[in-house]
Symmetry: D2
Subunit: 346 residues, 4 copies
């Protein structure tokens, strides 16, 4: 059994890691850390865990925490994972960070978009971007994995195959994403109250969301040239789920079937990516609670645009599930272990 | 008092017309027609009207219905308003159609997108497109008003001023719209069950929605040249509200403040259009239940795109409220009569 | 025009008062006070009011505020209305309190259930309980009105006529109430986040809710004897609406029709109380946004129980709408002025 | 591997059985039958199953279906499971019915409350009521299991221990239950449209719901005397989840802690029943997607009432999960096999 620890266990992503690891046959949760809730039992923090009163949340130094585990997961606000990563690195332990602290090659991008100076820039070149469908081989040998953002996971899986195939063009791509509100976390905020969110769809961080440079960096890495995205995220009144609708110039003569064929070929062996038939579109409910991504595409010859659609559960494939997938890769387990479920519906 | 009749009173748009006319000081509802519910009392069909058991739904021929009223409203499936419009025309009565039967100048477009042959093409040139902010003067003297679709109302109000000002360019415009499900009507459909819609955001009619030619026709009329839109509507889990997010190439050097200044100038005297300050974005909840439209804009210099946002209540400014606004115009009443309310919040 | 002021204008009840008074033909809002938001414009606090940037929230002493108005409304946390009430009383102005500070005849009950000592017990005997259907005549001449709680409004309207008629018995009455979350206010609380409320129904304050003694006091006043209620409120995932389901021992031989006949007779002249036919039950959506209450009843002869159902909108008939109704009474206006609308549906 | 078949695979309960059996290590789904969808692939009916296009829905006679499996599950409208049960019985196969056809000892009760004559009354005495916490030993040897209704599962688990302990009294018990709408099934009905359910809480089948005699029968069996329940179910705007709030006369001197101690003792070894501490109440979200039941209790000495609270997921412990639990029992597998997950939250 691999000993696992979760730092930031009192957030939604932390809870989802707990849920997934409780059913994982080769992992054992050894510690749950959450500074502000230290000393509480797990069910006092999350009511789905009544019956597990013996599980306690703790607080301890990075060095102490690292000692107890083989793999540490950090689900923390920007900047806070760095000391854990350094402690893990020095102790020869593995760490999977679900935040943004290790997603960028260059500290300058991180510093510009996150407004923080990076406390361990030397670790950035050690970190591997944890999107297995694009970086599987590198993840397998990584000691520090930067789990992708929820939006980039959806958008990159939709864009990369078609851009590489030349079926869509990289100039003027628009990403219109719709997300449930669990991505905003469990901190009390007036804007996230039920009475504010219900019957409300709204854009936020228009064209300035921090996932923009993350997506652009990976596109540059995969395509060898700069791609700029107009990215507008929206909140919709639901708890989970991201639907990304992507608009890209269509290469001449490309049909819907061409786009879908490229997807099918690219993801033929991928257990978590489902390419839908022509005329069927991804929906967030279809992947709810699962590690699956659904992809769809339409070639609109009338306007010369491809419309690409990707749906995932932001807390699973967009966060904790993908982290478990990465865990399986770095530990040498079958990649789907503990992640076999289809979506829960309705 | 102007005598008003509503045909299609058992649908959501019909109910909203009833709600609005019950508070209108110069109109009196004289008849409510709904074929499948004829003979029922109004509260048997809509539970918000208990106490009004004496109001009955009836069925009668177009000619009979037209005789009883000064202005007839039709809220019917495609094709079904035509016989009412002809009867009203011949009787010298006015008619406001909330469907698509009179929105097109040319029957051929209607026939191609709606799959129906048009039974009264001679009336198409008599009909005025009922978007008061764009066609106020023509509406005032109209006898047949084609109330716009819910999506076109939002999209046209956002696009026209900026296209006319040359601040955005007409090539490659993308419209990503999100709508509550009340637009789908009250007919039982599996896809519209609560358990199917909740926690679900989904695209539909991707690049083939019938409101596309309606928007393009008005843009052509206003700009004098053809504009093609990539239009993708989405359903979000809420009852009311449309948010249209529009992406358009930005003319060189145009700033967010330039876009907003154009809106403010264009809509300076408009009672129902609210232009938000920079950094504030329209949200569907902010206009819920009202006849208001909120507009916002961002110029993303980094990618050379304008992002335009428009929010309205699909059943009010997107349907029944706009119909009342048109009614006020054709009757010579103050345009805001009966429509003074701000949104109901939360 | 009667000059109106609202203290606590940044809460949901305050916003609802603003909405209702903006359409009231005989009232003019002269001041909006909200300590923590003083200096902001109204739309900065509530986005449905963009276009009203000139309306500002202010902070001032009770004495200063009272000077500017004829009638002051207080929508404040427990204990905070008292200084305003004293200032209004001394200045000869009228005050309608939407909180609990003046609902009890005896300060000792207030102090026991609210845990606060009462700063102006001498005003308690001046205050009139503002439930017009039960205390209309006294309200008309009141200078200090204690607007009822949301739950008591629903429960008392359902219980009083049948208890007075002897059709139900006062021993062992159970009140199971379901409420939307807007009643919890706009303060950020983790438990009220969308992601916590969605797909969640839960009891709270089981058998210890503060509205219990309020209901019992009025029942005692109306019936001349003590009645004790088992009262359990629940939160349901919706923004507005209360449904109270009340279980009471049925007097021998009483039928469903008997119960409904009593309701119909008792509320025959009441504009806001709608008694539904046998077999039709009140629903929160049916009264959404309106000042209406729907009542229903079933006599279950098999178990000897009456099941009574009452639905209202907690922010309207349960708070701001009832306050306007009281305002109309103390000002001598028609009781329905500004409150004519039926529910907004769907 | 035990070969499993599901009849009624196109409903929500059917889908939930498929989800649960896909992860069950000792069962293999061999056939999925659904008359109206026969010939379709599974993902054409349920979009969470894209990737499983090879799974087809079929139609065949009961005799043919029974031949292919070891255990057949029927999730069908009332009356329709009978022919399958007879075929299974004659073939010596086991059947678990998730409907009401075999829940009653006496055909006369079934016929009175369901309005159907029973086609195989001789099988009623063979059927075992599939509530493992109350009938585990009998289930283990059963060949025909009647899976309980969703409401009875919650209510019986809350009532039986306390009634048997004499801590609550059987006269005048009131059950007020709140349910998500998935229990109403996937058939299109106007009342179940999203726009009708959202912002709506409503009672239905007041005091005449068909689960009433089912609960009363089991209480009689367990207590040896007749108990009558006033049962009022409500719909709340959510997809899954039942919360039952039960009001019962409290035996003299019984405290909250006494009630909870009885629960803890009674369910000490039960893997799926979680007794919450005093002051913590069950919530539907806490058990969402799991086979767990949460129980809570309050003794209200002031009114002499016990308030009992039980929460479960109507599609899992209230239907498909409990059926899998019964399957494990009749097959001799560990009772929790395939059902280990805690609730998914948020």
């Amino acid at each position: 059994m691999v000993r696992v620890g979760i730092v930031g266990a009192s957030g939604y992503t932390g809870a989802e890691l707990i849920r997934l690891f409780r059913r994982h046959p080769e992992a054992k949760i050894c510690l749950l850390a959450a500074r502000t809730h230290a000393g509480k039992s797990l069910p006092e923090v999350f009511p789905q865990f009544w019956g597990l009163e013996d599980e306690k949340l703790i607080a301890a130094s990075p060095e102490e925490l690292v000692r107890e585990v083989d793999v540490l997961f950090t689900a923390l606000p920007a900047g806070e994972a760095i000391s854990y990563a350094r402690a893990a690195w020095q102790a020869g332990k593995k760490l999977i960070d679900l935040g943004a602290d290790f997603r960028f090659r260059e500290a300058s991008i991180y510093e510009r978009w996150y407004g923080l100076s990076h406390g361990a820039p030397e670790l950035l070149r050690e970190a591997v971007y944890g999107l297995p469908e694009l970086y599987r081989d590198r993840i397998k040998t990584a000691r520090l994995v930067a789990n992708p953002g929820c939006y980039p996971t959806a958008v990159l899986l939709a864009l990369v195959p078609l851009l590489k195939a030349g079926q869509i063009l990289p100039e003027g791509i628009v990403v219109d994403a719709k997300s449930g509100v669990s991505g905003a976390g469990r901190q009390p905020k007036m804007e996230m109250l039920y009475a504010e969110v219900n019957e409300n769809v709204q854009a936020y961080n228009v064209a300035v969301h921090r996932h923009t440079p993350e997506m652009e960096q990976i596109l540059q890495d995969k395509l060898g040239k700069e791609v700029r995205l107009t990215f507008v995220p929206h909140l919709v009144p639901q708890t989970r789920g991201i639907l990304a609708t992507i608009y890209a110039p269509l290469a001449p003569g490309v049909t819907t079937e061409d786009l879908l064929a490229t997807y099918r070929e690219y993801y033929r062996e991928e257990p978590f990516v489902k390419v839908l038939p022509a005329g069927v579109y991804p929906r967030t409910k279809s992947v709810w609670g699962s590690n699956l991504v659904q992809l769809g595409a339409v070639a609109d010859g009338r306007t010369g645009r491809a419309v690409l659609l990707a749906a995932l559960d932001n807390l699973v494939k967009g966060a904790a599930g993908q982290a478990v997938q990465n865990f399986n890769l770095i530990c040498g387990f079958p990649e789907t272990m503990g992640l076999e479920d289809s979506g829960i519906y309705p």
